[in-house]
């Protein structure tokens, strides 16, 4: 559960409790993973959850009365499409404890990138009167539970195109190329494209098998991952305006690069990394290999 400083009273942790999201495939439920590596736009998501709401405790802590109309809603946001929408809305009012069954179906065509599911208890409509500091405006968020899910994980974190490099300006014998936008505020899904040379059949096969790679595929993917990470880090450090403190939109390439650096080099400033790269580029390249744990899985 996440908390924000809100201009009204909110219920405590004991009043609303969510279970873990379950992914339903062919009628069978599985614990929702952190990422779905083989997801694409044609795959819709069927998800279930259960939320326990003690309305008496909610009323006691917020100053609302039993006639207040509340809703438990699931709101999704997808960075790949930049869209947000409501997946389910369940009205709640009265007294006592309630267990709400959430059952949502998200169309794959609206999704992509990082999917965020916010389950929220909200005041469904505005109230003219109420106790001091109790919520008044319709839509006021009383409680939130957030879960994220990477759609397309492992190797294909961003769009991949298999193309004959002969038809491009890229060296014909190279295996892959990461296209990165210079505009770091551009949405990540539109700003990144991994091109794989169709002439390099073993590499193409490795990417095609990324969801369930064979041992040989793992070797190719590990080499590609290390090189792609290095390319992205170099891209970030080459931009003089790039910094951990730079403000980029949540779904932007700049934010993705900030996250990558924080994951690979936690507690190191961008300035420090820039210096290491300038002073000893060879050693820095090797440090990136270590940071991504190259060939560890292979």
């Amino acid at each position: 559960m996440s908390r924000r400083a809100l201009p009204f009273r909110t219920p405590g942790d004991e009043a609303v409790k969510a279970q873990q999201w379950v992914l339903v495939v062919d009628g069978e439920g599985f614990e929702l993973p952190e990422a779905l590596p083989d997801w694409d736009y044609q795959m819709s998501l069927h998800l279930r959850n259960e939320v326990h709401v003690d309305l008496d405790a909610v009323h006691a802590s917020t100053g609302l009365t039993p006639d207040a109309k509340l809703s438990l809603v699931v709101v999704w946001t997808a960075t790949g499409s930049g869209l947000r929408g409501t997946a389910q809305r369940v009205p709640l009012s009265g007294e006592g404890a309630h267990t709400v069954e959430l059952d949502v179906e998200l169309s794959g065509t609206q999704l992509g990138g990082l999917l965020t599911l916010d389950t929220q208890l909200v005041l469904a409509e505005s109230r003219e009167t109420g106790a001091i500091a109790s919520p008044r405006r319709g839509g006021s968020v009383l409680w939130t539970h957030t879960r994220t899910l990477y759609l397309q994980g492992d190797a294909p974190q961003f769009p991949i195109a298999v193309v004959d490099f002969e038809a491009t300006q890229l060296p014909t014998d190279s295996a892959w190329h990461v296209q990165l936008s210079e505009e770091l505020n551009t949405a990540t899904m539109g700003a990144l494209l991994l091109l794989v040379n169709e002439r390099k059949k073993p590499v193409v096969t490795a990417f095609q098998n990324a969801a369930s790679p064979r041992p040989i595929d793992k070797v190719y993917l590990a080499a590609a991952y290390a090189d792609i990470a290095r390319t992205m880090i170099e891209h970030a450090l080459a931009d003089p305006d790039f910094n951990h403190d730079s403000e980029y939109a949540e779904d932007s390439l700049g934010a993705t690069l900030q996250s990558l650096l924080e994951n690979l080099f936690p507690h190191m400033s961008v300035q420090h990394l820039r210096q290491r790269r300038e002073q000893s580029p060879n050693l820095f390249a090797t440090e990136i290999q270590a940071a991504v744990s190259i060939f560890e899985e292979a």
Binding site: S71, G82, S140, A161, S181
Partner: protein
């Protein structure tokens, strides 16, 4: 079934943009194509669009442009009519899914390979974001698809009828605040409903809209607009919109008073 469109890689887009700088419309027409050697498709997610379908799409866009005076210079009214008709057509017929439509390279292919003549007719001597799609909210075609997508309501007889409620500049104010407001078709449609029925009492439209959107941005951190049913959301938005009208009128009144002193 979603459709995958060819993507024009950014260095080719830059190169074509440079090549087209000095070209007139007839030369751009001669340069148009349904394929490009370096165009790529992403690996999964739908069926690839072929050359015959791209040719058909081009014919439809050219027909709409011709109705608006192409290749002659269009006036403001003709440009608006063209944009509205094109928004409906692109969104209704391309079969794009939002995640695919978020890619600038898809739109760069349309403006620099398939329809360079129409793109440069609509925006003569365009800045690069109009055709290279470095910012989709400004792309000659991409912004129209997204504008249509955000207002699309399949339950209406005309699913794109809300396109006419706000002018382009006004809609851009919402779309520019995409992260907080413009990413939610549900909220955008509610904003348009409320705006369409708002009595501005003579207050300047642009100023009222700007103030209205500022108020919504201030509410966004502790309110979930999508959580409310239509009528309750409309009531909250109407309240904010009326506060904006009053604020703009009060400001104008204050300016008059100061000017009189």
């Amino acid at each position: 079934m979603s459709r995958l469109y060819p993507r024009l890689l950014s260095w080719h887009a830059k190169s074509l943009y440079a090549d087209y700088r000095e070209l007139g419309l007839p030369e751009l027409t001669a340069r148009h194509d349904t394929t490009h050697l370096s165009a790529v498709f992403v690996a999964t997610g739908g069926d690839r669009v072929g050359a015959p379908e791209l040719a058909e799409l081009r014919a439809k866009v050219v027909a709409l442009a011709t109705e608006a005076g192409y290749p002659g210079e269009p006036d403001q009214s003709a440009r608006s009519r063209f944009d509205l008709a094109l928004a409906r057509m692109l969104h209704g017929e391309m079969g794009l899914v939002p995640a695919e439509a978020a890619s600038g390279d898809v739109w760069a292919f349309l403006s620099l390979v398939l329809l360079p003549d129409v793109a440069y007719w609509r925006y003569p001597g365009p800045p690069r974001d109009r055709v290279q799609a470095s910012d989709i909210t400004r792309h000659v075609f991409g912004r129209l698809w997204w504008r249509a997508h955000l207002v699309h309501d399949p339950s209406e007889q005309d699913p794109h009828s809300a396109l006419t409620i706000l002018g382009e500049a006004a809609f851009d104010q919402i779309y520019a605040r995409r992260r907080a407001l413009g990413g939610s078709p549900y909220l955008v449609k509610a904003i348009l409903r409320v705006w369409g029925g708002l009595d501005r009492g003579g207050a300047n439209e642009r100023e009222v809209l700007r103030d209205f959107l500022k108020r919504l941005l201030r509410l966004a951190p502790f309110m979930c607009f999508e959580a409310m049913e239509d009528r309750h959301l409309d009531a909250e938005l109407s309240r904010a919109a009326h506060e904006s009208v009053q604020a703009v009128q009060a400001k104008k009144q204050q300016e008059h008073t100061l000017a009189a002193v």
